[in-house]
Symmetry: C2
Subunit: 396 residues, 2 copies
């Protein structure tokens, strides 16, 4: 989704694609194949895998990311050799390691759920006693949830996150951690009213912009519906949420787009997760904002002046297409375009797998209920089945 | 500019690129190099130059165009072999040959300037006597313009168009026509108030949509500024203009996007030129309409239901960047983004040449004067020089 704004700005995009069939390789002309964890592949990407206009390889001016799974050591070495790496490895680590992130946000006095790094059953028991429901509590069932345990690295879309009732619930993770796997952290179960997200962009020169705060509806740990702006949000909470995003962007020296996922609890906000890249909670900006998160990310990492983040319509709702009953999601193209001539369909060129993010639909307008209903209906046609997540016949 | 909507709709785009450095080749992964006039290149394009997912060449479902210079015989043969060609050769000829177009529009009773095919000085003298200023007219200078002569084929952006005072002014074209070059037609000089354009899209199933009528400001025969919708347009003229576009689309069996350029003369409209493809007068739709002309063209040629053509803002103005004083137009990227964070910049990946269309800028908003001033100012920064057309130091 960065390809269109890159073309419009005259920015040559060279993407390290996981395979020749990867989404990016389908739509970017210069897409060498390799793994982001492979130092050689990263260096070839930066050096220029393909001949440029002159016939010689053209090295990249800037290296940036669409996911966090890129080794910090490689990035530091590449930066030391003179390539601009945005965000830098010292910022990116906060999106790679939840313990590092929580510790740094706590230092900055950014509101976060109560949390602790837990290295053993004993430490988790201590945390549960401190923040969980009183134990034993006769009013609660034996297996009442009491906290969230997360792996510090490698989790996404609900993976690496487990709601626990007692320390033994993550025995397997403790064993994995002891064997060199990711460390664990425990967090209080936040009784949130809803989830919000704030998207910000910051350039190396220090310019920071935020977009309107959005409401994010998650189903089974996966983002399903984003409403922009978040309905019924008090001006105070809106301001606080945006200020936190700016504070995080500056405090962590983030460059490019930063997504800050938050819990709203009685008008206050707590930071849940961070991403340092264009993020699902910001896909609404492609159609719904003057400057999309993808264009803004390019501007930011290239240290160009940032674009206007105003909304283009009173309401914009984005619905994810998570799995499909169709053989290919494109099989539903005629039906979805016939059903709603104003729904903006964005497919990712992926084969159907249960629950997989295959695309999203955006609808803008003046009537929130109508806009939301249209976005959900269009996504349902592409999904070809009931419910926000259609797991298909052969749920894997 | 078709690449982004193709990706979003999950449509694989294979483009015949003029060279490896062509604009399309920079942004489309599957871009074999060849000439549109080369039958072998067209057939390889349709057959599939590169392996698809299965490892075998994947033939195209639909063949369409971004310019008119594609031989009708090749298209008829390809269509006869079972590939959907949109628009078909029998429609496309009206965008290739102005005499064929004028004759057919006259048959359909579509209002056009008075015109005649002229095969000789004598026929042109006859036409001038019939529609031109009376000759001799003592109130006019000797060389007063009296009609427009056009080559029936091969003209664009003011090329192949000459304002004449007397038959000898196109002696060279008569000589060229006699030697097998394009035939000539003469048209009255229309005392137009302004130029309008109507964009329509029609699918093979017969669904037709038009966008709001726009005003097009031409400088030296080249489109410079497009204002959407056309200011101060009477509802009657708006309706008449849209109806003419629908009549032309249906009467000529056009599929895909059709641009109808018109003269407004005292509230009436006359058809000037046709294009059967996304057109410069419709670039405003990328940012200014719910469905861009590029997405709509894809929908139409694939016979998908068409999208909503409503404007997304009260006013949208598009300014072309015609030539630049910068070595590369991207050299002005920081300046233009700093000057106007809401201006949408679209560059075409072309090297600078005097007067060349290097890109365009779009601005949307509620205040027409402000929107127009912003679009012109942003284009001027990219141009790096005064006036709508900056011809540069070394005007060729």
């Amino acid at each position: 989704m960065m390809a269109a704004p890159a073309a419009a700005l005259g920015v040559h995009l060279r993407v390290l694609a996981e395979s020749e069939r990867a989404s990016a390789a389908q739509v970017v002309a210069d897409a060498p194949v390799g793994k982001a964890a492979d130092d050689d592949a990263l260096r070839a990407l930066v050096a220029g895998d393909v001949p440029g206009a002159s016939g010689d390889p053209v090295p990249a001016d800037v290296l940036t990311f669409e996911h966090e799974h890129v080794p910090g050591d490689s990035l530091r070495a590449i930066a030391a050799e003179g390539t601009s790496v945005q965000p830098g490895a010292d910022a990116l680590v906060h999106a790679q390691d939840k313990i590092v992130m929580r510790a740094r946000l706590s230092e900055l006095n950014v509101p976060v759920p109560r949390w602790a790094a837990v290295g053993s059953q004993g430490e988790l028991a201590e945390f549960l006693a401190a923040v969980g429901h009183p134990d034993p509590d006769p009013s609660l069932p034996d297996r009442a949830p009491r906290a969230v345990v997360k792996t510090s690295r490698g989790g996404y879309d609900g993976k690496g996150v487990r709601v626990v009732a007692e320390p033994a619930d993550v025995d397997d993770w403790f064993a994995a951690a002891a064997a060199g796997g990711p460390a664990l952290l425990a967090e209080e179960l936040v009784p949130f009213t809803r989830e919000l997200a704030v998207l910000a962009a910051r350039s190396p020169s220090g310019e920071v912009h935020t977009w309107p705060v959005v409401e994010s509806l998650q189903v089974e740990g996966v983002c399903y519906l984003v409403t922009a702006p978040a309905p019924d949000l008090s001006p105070e909470t809106e301001r606080a949420a945006r200020e936190i995003a700016v504070q995080v962007a500056e405090g962590l020296d983030v460059t490019g787009v930063l997504a800050v996922e938050m819990f709203e609890v009685n008008g206050s906000v707590l930071v849940n997760e961070l991403a340092m890249r264009p993020h699902n909670s910001g896909h609404w900006t492609i159609d719904g904002s003057v400057t999309s998160q993808f264009e803004q990310h390019l501007r930011a990492v290239l240290d160009l002046p940032l674009g206007d983040t105003a909304a283009r319509a009173p309401w914009t709702v984005m619905a994810n297409v998570l799995g499909s009953a169709h053989d290919q999601v494109t099989d539903a193209l005629a039906d979805v375009t016939a059903a709603d001539p104003g729904a903006k369909v964005h497919l990712y060129g992926k084969d159907v797998r249960p629950g997989r993010k295959l695309g999203h639909v955006t609808v803008s307008g003046a009537d929130l209920e109508q806009v939301r209903a249209r976005a959900e209906a269009a996504a349902a046609i592409l999904r070809g089945g009931p419910g926000p997540i259609y797991w298909g016949e052969s749920d894997g």
